[in-house]
């Protein structure tokens, strides 16, 4: 192979990765932003995987029924709110562990979605529209890479809004206080339990919207293998992003790119180890967790009330 074709191949691989990152990162982005809100309040919701799947199913069903994908997104969010409220309410009972409840709700959410979603596997629901950012280019490949879904810019804007809001809004400060020192929050008269339930519900809403993306845009259908653990990876991603919404957005794009590695290599004709490359996001999760967790040091930026930062 000559150097020019090498360069071309590398360029189109990078392009494919970029396209993949822009296409696949949206659910990571929404789930991690939602989890970020929840964890800032001092609770971990591991059930977002279940919320994601339930949101995907609910969104698909409603879009099919009403013919409007946007009503589907809203319905997915509402599914998420219900799941979040359930998690928040259960965890507010005495001696209930949020991580255990999260695992239970993860199984509950996916199970419920599979049960209710059986009739949705065949019919085709209307899809969410996309934005052509690459219309100026005459390269088909670039245009396809820059064809992004409308939820992505919404999610990125939300990340910016959360970044600002955590520091400069009444809600943000109260949320962080509750997550950092519940006793102090109580002493200052902030309602700890309602704030936490609210934060978990808001987190659930965003995870549900992330699910709607899966069924209503990409891959754009409802089936039981839709999520393949993306909700769980998004939780890990929040820790890697050190509870910063902006870093969550960056990390989501990185995970998206990793997820696109397998298909991108395949499109270049490299088929050996296809399934191995498909495992890249999972390997990345492990590697990043190991790298960001230095033994003997408390994790900088971790909300003080999270159950794993408590000594």
């Amino acid at each position: 192979m000559s150097e020019t074709t090498d360069g071309l191949a590398f360029g189109s691989l990078a392009l494919a990765l970029l396209g993949g990152a822009l296409r696949v990162s949206t659910p990571f982005l929404f789930v991690s932003l939602g989890e970020c809100i929840t964890e800032k309040s001092g609770r971990i919701n591991l059930g977002l995987e279940g919320t994601l799947v339930l949101g995907a199913m609910g969104g698909y069903g409603i879009a099919l029924l009403t013919g409007s994908p946007w009503l589907g997104v809203l319905a997915a969010g509402l599914c998420g709110v219900l799941m979040g409220l359930l998690h928040g309410a259960l965890c507010s009972l005495p001696k209930v562990n949020d991580i255990a409840v999260g695992i239970a709700l993860m199984l509950f959410g996916t199970g419920l979605a599979f049960f209710l979603g059986k009739p949705l596997i065949q019919p085709q629901a209307p899809m969410l529209p996309s934005v052509e950012l690459g219309a100026w280019s005459d390269s088909e490949q670039l245009r396809s890479a820059l064809r992004i879904n409308v939820l992505l810019p919404l999610g990125l804007a939300l990340a910016g809004l959360l970044h600002w809001g955590f520091r400069s809004s009444r809600w943000g400060l109260a949320l962080r206080l509750v997550g950092d020192n519940a006793a102090a929050a109580r002493a200052l008269g902030y309602p700890v339990v309602p704030i936490r339930i609210g934060a978990t519900a808001a987190g659930g809403f965003l995870a549900g919207v992330g699910g709607a993306f899966l069924s209503l845009y990409y891959p754009g259908s409802w089936n039981e293998g839709l999520s393949s653990g993306q909700g769980l990876m998004a939780v890990a991603l929040v820790i890697f992003a050190r509870w910063s919404p902006l870093r969550c957005a960056l990390a989501a794009l990185l995970f998206g790119a990793a997820g696109a590695l397998g298909p991108a290599l395949q499109s270049q004709g490299i088929t050996a180890g296809y399934y191995l490359f498909n495992a890249a996001p999972y390997v990345l999760t492990l590697a990043l967790m190991a790298a960001s967790w230095t033994p003997g040091q408390t994790l900088a930026g971790a909300p003080g009330e999270l159950s794993f930062t408590q000594r």
């Binding site: 520091r167 950092d180 002493a187 408390t298």
Partner: protein
């Protein structure tokens, strides 16, 4: 009285310290009566001290007053009017504020954010430029200096205490309640803080109610005093009219000697110190954030001497102790015990007779939900006579552990005298006694001690000091790290001052220049910068 005069008077009252009265307050926690029919009176604009031993009910009383746990019976009067205080919000409305013993700051947030959150009436959108300017103006009106952008987790204990007080001043409280505010401060800081608060009471702008163990603070700053004992009112009066002896008797219920004179006698000074037990050579260690906390530190402790380490909290003392106890790994240098390399393993601790009284014993020296007997056995439960038996499988002999625990509970006066009680349910002083029993009953050759009397009443303090002195006279080498300079001056044979992870100064007992120590603690010593 016309309307105008009335409003003027109301405004006037708002800017003055509050008068508070507790009337027959009773508070129960399950079977325990923490407060039994206690009445007290705090005059407007006075500096009132609340004295009592651990568990006497001082904290419970003030927590009732600030609405944290409302009392079952009794009432509170503020400025002569009965007020129902059922929640912290009610107390806030009456402008009664409390500085808690345990810090109530959000560690992950900045100083400015903590102050703003305390205010409670935040706008939906916070204009940080304006708020910070306002906070800077407020800070300038007090003698405290804090970086508004610093994260609370990065502040030293003394700075956190200042922020707690600032938080209440920022809220414009008329009654400020302080729960042992100076226990984490250096003497200079303590005088600064109390002096400022005292000045504000002299202007009549503020009433201060302070829980304390320190008679020195009562005599220097208090106007009047209320003494509690075992949940009951033991006495009250004006500070000038009660002697220290009177107050001490009210506290413990009988006459006790309040010995504060240094124990070191001239004859002691000529005593030959023994062999080097602990040698620390060029030790380096990082803190939790990975920053260098101990920097190339050298020190030696010989048999039969107490070496005191003075310093402001956060200058590497905590990390030094943690390295010596095996809780933290060193990043450089060497530690030797009896001339042998030492890594704080269980075998080495046992071979060299190394024992310790770390600070916060419940966290650093106990398993909170295990029983007193089990905690007392943590050093030797795995050797005879506490393990053994059938086929030498080293089964635990609970009977032996319990029998010994009973002896120690008796000898060290641990309350309640129940070896099967979970140690986390004991009061701070009793946890310390239980740990003391475990650490001082063996053959002690080297003892590492950190802030041993933090938060203890004076009777417990006295008992612990006597035991440390006894261990030294029996030939143990003792390293005593303390934030209380008086304690160090009283006990130590040599005093080292630690500043920024290094030894900045050292002096022999009897040749101590307290002013120089103060300068070195503040980082302005000859060797400092």
């Amino acid at each position: 009285m016309d309307a105008l005069t009335h409003t003027l008077l109301a405004a006037d009252v708002q800017d003055r310290g509050a008068a508070v009265e507790a009337y027959r307050v009773t508070k129960r926690f399950g079977a325990l009566t923490a407060l039994d029919d206690v009445s007290m009176k705090v005059e407007a604009g006075s500096f009132h001290c609340l004295l009592g031993e651990n568990g006497a009910g001082k904290s419970t009383l003030v927590k009732c007053l600030v609405g944290y746990h409302p009392p079952e019976e009794g009432s509170f009067m503020v400025d002569g009017r009965e007020q129902a205080i059922r929640s912290p919000r009610d107390a806030q409305r009456l402008r009664i504020g409390m500085v808690y013993q345990h810090f109530t700051l959000a560690p992950g947030m900045t100083v400015a954010e903590n102050l703003l959150l305390a205010r409670g009436d935040l706008p939906l959108r916070i204009d940080w430029r304006r708020e910070k300017a306002a906070l800077a103006t407020f800070l300038a009106s007090t003698p405290f200096r804090l970086d508004l952008n610093a994260r609370v987790a990065d502040l030293a204990a003394g700075e956190k205490q200042k922020l707690e007080i600032l938080k209440q001043l920022y809220l414009g409280q008329r009654l400020l309640i302080l729960d042992e505010p100076t226990s984490v401060l250096t003497p200079t800081e303590a005088d600064e803080v109390l002096g400022l608060l005292h000045g504000m009471t002299r202007d009549g702008r503020l009433t201060v109610m302070m829980i304390t163990h320190k008679f020195r603070e009562v005599s220097a700053y208090g106007d009047s005093v209320t003494v509690l004992r075992r949940g009951k009112l033991a006495g009250s009066g004006r500070v000038g009219e009660l002697s220290t002896q009177d107050m001490a008797e009210m506290m413990v219920g009988s006459a006790v000697s309040v010995a504060t004179a240094p124990r070191r006698r001239a004859a002691d000074a000529g005593r030959m110190a023994g062999d080097i037990r602990l040698g620390v050579d060029g030790l380096c260690a990082d803190n939790d954030r990975g920053m260098a906390a101990v920097r190339e530190l050298d020190l030696v402790v010989r048999a039969g001497e107490i070496v005191g380490i003075a310093g402001v909290a956060g200058n590497g003392q905590k990390e030094l102790v943690e390295v010596l106890l095996g809780q933290r790994s060193a990043s450089g240098g060497a530690v030797r015990v009896d001339g042998e390399a030492y890594g704080a393993t269980r075998a080495e601790l046992r071979r060299h007779g190394v024992f310790s009284l770390p600070e916060e014993p419940l966290r650093n020296a106990c398993v909170p939900n295990m029983s007193v007997a089990e905690n007392m056995g943590l050093r030797d439960f795995d050797i005879a006579p506490f393990s053994g038996g059938w086929l030498s499988l080293r089964f635990l002999r609970r009977g032996a552990l319990t029998r010994r625990a009973k002896e120690w509970i008796e000898a060290f006066g641990v309350r309640p005298p129940d070896p099967s009680a979970a140690i986390e349910n004991l009061s701070g002083g009793n946890v310390q006694r239980a740990v003391l029993a475990r650490e001082l009953s063996g053959a002690v050759r080297l003892l590492i001690v950190a802030n041993p009397v933090f938060g203890l009443d004076f009777a417990a303090t006295e008992a612990i000091h006597r035991r440390l002195d006894q261990a030294r006279n029996d030939g143990a080498a003792i390293l005593l790290v303390s934030e209380d300079l008086d304690e160090l001056l009283e006990l130590s044979d040599r005093i080292l001052v630690m500043s920024e992870g290094r030894i900045a100064h050292q002096a022999l007992a009897g040749y101590v220049d307290v002013a120089e120590i103060g300068r070195c603690m503040a980082g302005h010593g000859a060797g400092g910068h």
